[in-house]
């Protein structure tokens, strides 16, 4: 039943040559990203850290929803599980902060895989329903008094900011920014390889035509679960990083609104587009803040409008727009 109209999902193609403007843009972006802590104050660095962290989470969600076509309306839950894993390991068990990130990823991967297992049987719509429920319910579970000794109940857990290792002359904010940047870079490389390799083609094939995919020998059930697991892993690591950056986890930080923000992020950035994660992350980090100055209800209104408009007006998101401009520009200039 889940058939994609051509044009809604841009299918990634195997590209032999990368356009030169792209290489240049990527190099400039990387240099600028690394140099940022030198130019900005700690608060700005902190904000950009959150953007980088959101980008990792969006990358995960986009693998599942954009590429895989499986709709998750509850990825905030995995973000929350990752954050809580990190916070609990650091605070209750005295783990070094860096060792908690792989744990957060692993816990979320298992959770995602397990949730994905029954999800194979659902149509797209039912998966959306089930994950929506997960996203709404999880804050209640975090608040649950029976596990208060781990989660801190409604109070949540406060953490200390990790200091830069080896006596590097960096403030904690700068260090955390670079750490997040490293994680994000690794995440992007891995995601790029997944998407361009046989696994990515299988995932996209399942999205575009599950029956055809199955008949050419793709184990659709397995791939769907694994996609869910990988997606949750990304989002979980992002959650763990955010716990370190924000220095706090609380049940209400991971409400259904977070899940919806993530959805907004991939839609605005561009479904099935890796670079879209960055645009989406910038959007969900700054636009609600700006809108929030106007009215308490404004961020929600902006989100709603953006979701509605993007489907009709900008189905490829910002990344699609950038691509279109970039491919049209040289032609214009030559004329």
């Amino acid at each position: 039943m889940v058939e994609s109209a051509p044009g809604i999902h841009p299918t990634p193609t195997t590209r032999t040559g990368v356009p030169r403007w792209r290489t240049a843009a990527v190099v400039i972006a990387v240099v600028a990203a690394c140099a940022l802590p030198l130019a900005a104050d700690d608060y700005r660095v902190f904000q950009v850290t959150l953007v980088v962290i959101d980008a990792v989470a969006l990358l995960g969600l986009n693998l599942l929803t954009g590429y895989g076509g499986q709709i998750s309306l509850g990825h905030g839950a995995f973000f929350g599980i990752g954050a809580y894993t990190t916070a609990i390991l650091v605070h209750r068990f005295g783990f070094p902060y860096w060792a908690t990130l792989p744990c957060a990823g692993a816990v979320c991967m298992v959770a995602g895989f397990l949730f994905g297992l029954p999800a194979l049987r659902f149509d797209g719509l039912y998966l959306a329903l089930a994950t929506f429920a997960l996203g709404v319910v999880l804050p209640q579970v975090f608040k649950f008094r029976g596990i208060e000794s781990f989660t801190g109940g409604v109070e949540g857990i406060s953490l200390d900011k990790p200091h830069a290792p080896l006596g590097l002359p960096l403030s904690p904010d700068q260090w955390l920014y670079l750490l997040s940047l490293g994680v994000a870079a690794a995440g992007f490389l891995v995601a790029r390889n997944i998407v361009r390799g046989p696994t990515g083609r299988a995932i996209v094939a399942i999205r575009d035509s599950p029956i055809a995919a199955a008949s050419v020998g793709i184990d659709t059930a397995m791939y769907k679960s694994v996609t869910f697991g990988i997606s949750a892993l990304y989002t979980g690591v992002a959650g763990g990083l955010s716990a370190l950056a924000v220095q706090f986890v609380g049940p209400d930080s991971f409400s259904a609104f977070l899940s919806i923000s993530l959805l907004v992020g991939i839609v605005v950035g561009g479904l099935a587009s890796l670079s879209g994660a960055i645009y989406g992350a910038i959007f969900i980090q700054f636009v609600p803040n700006v809108a929030g100055d106007l009215s308490k209800a404004a961020p929600g209104a902006v989100y709603g409008l953006v979701l509605l408009l993007s489907i009709y007006a900008l189905p490829f998101g910002v990344s699609g727009l950038v691509k279109r401009i970039a491919s049209a520009l040289p032609r214009r200039l030559k004329k």
């Binding site: 719509l125 429920a133 959805l263």
Partner: protein
């Protein structure tokens, strides 16, 4: 024992509300094979409208009827303007549209009416009927209203030609169009009816949980569970599911897991039904054409 009975009865009253919202969900599902994530927030807006009318001095039942009427028209409008252009898009796009609508309506309500919690009057007397102490008037009223609405809808779909046309459209749009039914109009009508049913549900639940922008969040989740439990394409199933979920939620919450974890009942039910019996109790097993 008395305590247990009381839990069951107040569960039935909540269940009436869940049943109504589930009924609205099922109506839209039958017509379009889509689950309306914005159903709860549509009902929220309707309830705020009713609240505003009542505060302006309009008598309760007049405000009630006006709200139902306006919600009906608004439902049709939403279908025409927002949903229909996306009707042929993939499921993902449609779900995004629904979520967009949900968020937009919610923030619209809190923008216009503020986020402070309001009380909402109940049309039923404050004193329990017949001097009993198991069931309050409002609880009994909610159950009555739900069953009445169910009966009305049943009669409409069974015994009027318009209802027949709507059922035909739900079955097969192409064939319906060929026999001269205005398919688009029927779909809009379905949305109107669903919005009206949701409005009634909102006005029934508001006196119990008070009116604030997050009022329908939990209700929607229970309604999802109810609709799935009853079978997503079965109106009768939705009503049965609604009452079952209402009672289960109250009893499990009171005796097994505590009220803090009540919402997990909905999650467990949703996942459980999808895994064990995707068609629900009364739904038809979906066959996919290859």
């Amino acid at each position: 024992m008395e305590e247990f009975l009381h839990q069951v009865v107040s569960g039935l009253a909540n269940g009436g509300v869940y049943a109504s919202v589930a009924l609205a969900l099922v109506m839209i599902y039958r017509a379009t094979h889509l689950v309306n994530f914005a159903q709860g927030e549509m009902a929220l807006c309707s309830t705020y409208l009713a609240s505003a009318l009542i505060e302006a001095g309009v008598p309760y039942w007049l405000a009630f009827s006006a709200t139902v009427g306006i919600s009906f028209a608004a439902g049709m409008l939403i279908e025409r303007v927002i949903i229909r252009p996306a009707a042929r898009a993939p499921v993902l796009s449609v779900v995004i549209v629904f979520i967009g609508l949900m968020v937009a309506l919610n923030s619209l309500a809190s923008w216009v009416f503020g986020t402070t919690i309001r009380t909402f009057p109940s049309p039923f007397p404050a004193r329990p009927p017949f001097g009993n102490h198991y069931i309050g008037s409002h609880e009994l009223g909610v159950v009555g209203v739900t069953l009445g609405m169910m009966l009305l809808l049943y009669t409409f779909f069974r015994h009027t030609s318009l209802g027949l046309a709507m059922r035909a459209v739900a079955q097969n749009q192409a064939s319906s169009r060929l026999v001269g039914i205005r398919v688009g109009r029927m779909l809009a009508l379905g949305w109107g009816l669903a919005a009206a049913v949701g409005a009634v549900a909102g006005m029934m639940v508001a006196p119990v949980v008070f009116l604030d922008p997050s009022m329908m969040g939990g209700v929607l989740l229970y309604a999802f569970a109810a609709a799935l439990l009853g079978g997503i394409d079965s109106p009768g199933g939705a009503v049965v599911g609604g009452f079952v979920v209402g009672v289960l939620e109250n009893v499990v919450g009171a005796y097994l897991i505590g009220t803090e974890l009540k919402l997990t009942v909905a999650l467990a039910l949703i996942v459980g039904v999808l895994v064990l019996r995707p068609a629900g109790l009364f739904g038809s097993v979906a066959a996919t054409r290859v």
